[in-house]
Amino acid sequence: MNVETPVLAEPIEDASWHRLSPRMLLVHPVIEIGRALPAIVGVFLAGSSQGHSYWGLGATGIVALYSLTRWFTTRLRITTEQVQLRHGLLRRRTITTARDRIRTVDVTSHLLHRLLGLGRVVIGTGTNDRNGSGRLVLDGLATATATRLRDDLLHRVPQPVDTAPSGAREIARLDRRWIRYAPFTLSGVLTGLVIWGFYWRIQGESGVDLARRGPFRDVTDALHRLSTTAEVVVVVAALVAFVAITSTVGYVLAFWNFRLVQHDGGTLQVTRGLVTTRATSIERRRLVGATISEPLPLRGVGAARTVAVATGLRTGRGAERGGEVLLPPAPRAVAESVAARVLDGTSAITSPLRPHGSAARHRRIARALLAGVLLVAATSIAWAAGAPAWPIAAAVAVLLLGVPLGLDRSAALGHEHTDGFVVTRSGSLIRRRTVLDERAVIGWNLRSTFFQRRLGLVTLVATTAAGEQGYRIVDVPVVEALELAEAVTPEVVKPFRAGPPATSG
């Protein structure tokens, strides 16, 4: 491979090897240095404590140089049949993806990418997306090239470039009033944990206690001068304020300019982001359902989010667990109507569900109380052995909280088979209602513990290639579980149904 390999640009599909955009030479060092920052800060602090202040500089230089090799060692090739990516300095890898297996194409632009007019293209192919091996990441193409590549890959029939905007209808866009729900997403808790982890890593690698340095010391000293009660109140208030503010910032960063558009062929396109912009396309035939997700705080204020259940979608973490967000936290009615509209106006989104009955309720409550009972027992034994009594009070509080939790969880349980969809709902702290196209159901897992069998209950899992790969119907009476399974996939379940006792030998 010679040095004059051209950069991928206009004639995309010419079967020869190309490079990614050379502007990535500016991006890679910044990203890699940012990633290695805790280590670099550690090296710097360790070095400066021994009078070698250049250590940090050296480490930064090494990381920057190493990051540049990524651009020099990466090539890609797009033919009429496949997309190939070759990369790696010491261990060379070639990833090949057949074009007819491509199911999603994401274009993401982080801040630096945007400043330089670049986009990161992630090509998803389905089955192996979960462990990342089925994904093909083209990090760094000029935005125009990236967009054209996406359209080329998704719409296999070559189309004139200028037809893209026409025939698209908008299903949803961000309403600024929804930002008031942001503090209730509690996404700031995660941010807090990340910052805390970062702090501990720096401290661990440098051996320097940041709480004893500079402005931090003034804060800790001021706190120590307060009474214990006041200290707790101040810390809790600060944490609540921190979570509320970071959750709101997170919401705005992630969902600013959010737009959900449906193109003529039914392909959905989600674009969003303030600093980092993302554009995700989902083919209609890959979209097999939707999840309405209501974390408890959001449910308390009547809000919910909608997540796509689709094959070949990259499954993210947190809010994006199980698929792409089709609607950020918004009023519940809006979340439901968006889910219904992308699924051809199905009534399954809001249809009433079959409850799972008293046995399921008893099991939910018993399970919710279990932790409290064990805690009370443990703290009581500890108290008898000389420990203070207040942990018992805390354990009793946990026990009492178990009652509403168990009731709420049992109230959530329900399922239905309606309008060609399997519907299931469960959960209290995060309540999820998922509707799944019956044609997307592959098979069934029926799980039962010893106690479930005694109560005549089973946890039925509908396995599928989409979203979370399996959707659970928790604690459903065995009779109803089998009725559902047989109704959805008769040819698979019927042979094993026991009608009259089997006498064949």
């Binding site: 098979g443 069934w444 897992n445 029926l446 399996g470 149904r497």
Partner: protein, 177 residues
């Protein structure tokens, strides 16, 4: 399949027998001994840890002895009861349209997948399994939650099953999603 249909099981293992019958075939008889042998090392480890903690502290007291006694009772119960229980639960069946298995003991699971959606079929044999002449058959579908594993078949049955399934899966075609 050319394999004979097993009779009804003694029914203490099955979980929903009235509504969904057990899969037809039992696994290999040698599976019971294999499960015992496989469970042995972890109990030896627990015993070893207890000895290491209790012995250096001089003469063990009543509490220590009761812990040791409880461990021994649990270990013997597990090593004797678990394999027998499992042997009654673990069953499998393959028809023209579906693969159906039942596994577990205290917690049990039944899995059903259509042959038409099968993507891969393969066998695995661990070192202890090879010693007992056993093999596992894994049938995967497009769902990451859907793989069906038939545990502890004797080797000939496993190979026969894989060959048959592979042929069937090819016959139905499609990409299985």
């Amino acid at each position: 399949m050319a394999l004979p249909c097993g009779g009804r099981s003694d029914d203490d293992g099955g979980m929903t027998d009235v509504l969904l019958r057990d899969p037809a075939h039992l696994v290999s008889r040698r599976a019971r001994l294999y499960w015992t042998v496989r469970a042995l090392p972890s109990w030896l480890l627990v015993g070893g840890l207890e000895a290491a903690i209790l012995l250096p502290d001089g003469v063990p007291g009543a509490v220590s002895w009761s812990v040791v006694a409880a461990t021994v009772v649990l270990a013997v119960l597990h090593l004797v009861v678990m394999p027998q229980w499992r042997y009654r639960v673990h069953r499998w069946e393959i028809t023209d349209t579906a693969v159906y298995t039942q596994s577990g003991w205290v917690s049990q699971e039944r899995r059903i997948a259509p042959i038409a959606r099968v993507q891969t079929v393969d066998t695995q044999r661990g070192p202890i399994e090879q010693l007992f002449g056993l093999a596992n058959v894994t049938v995967t579908t497009a769902s990451a939650r859907g793989p069906i594993k038939i545990h502890a078949l004797d080797r000939a049955t496993a190979e026969h099953t894989v060959a048959w399934l592979t042929e069937r899966a090819q016959a139905t075609g499609g990409d299985g999603t």
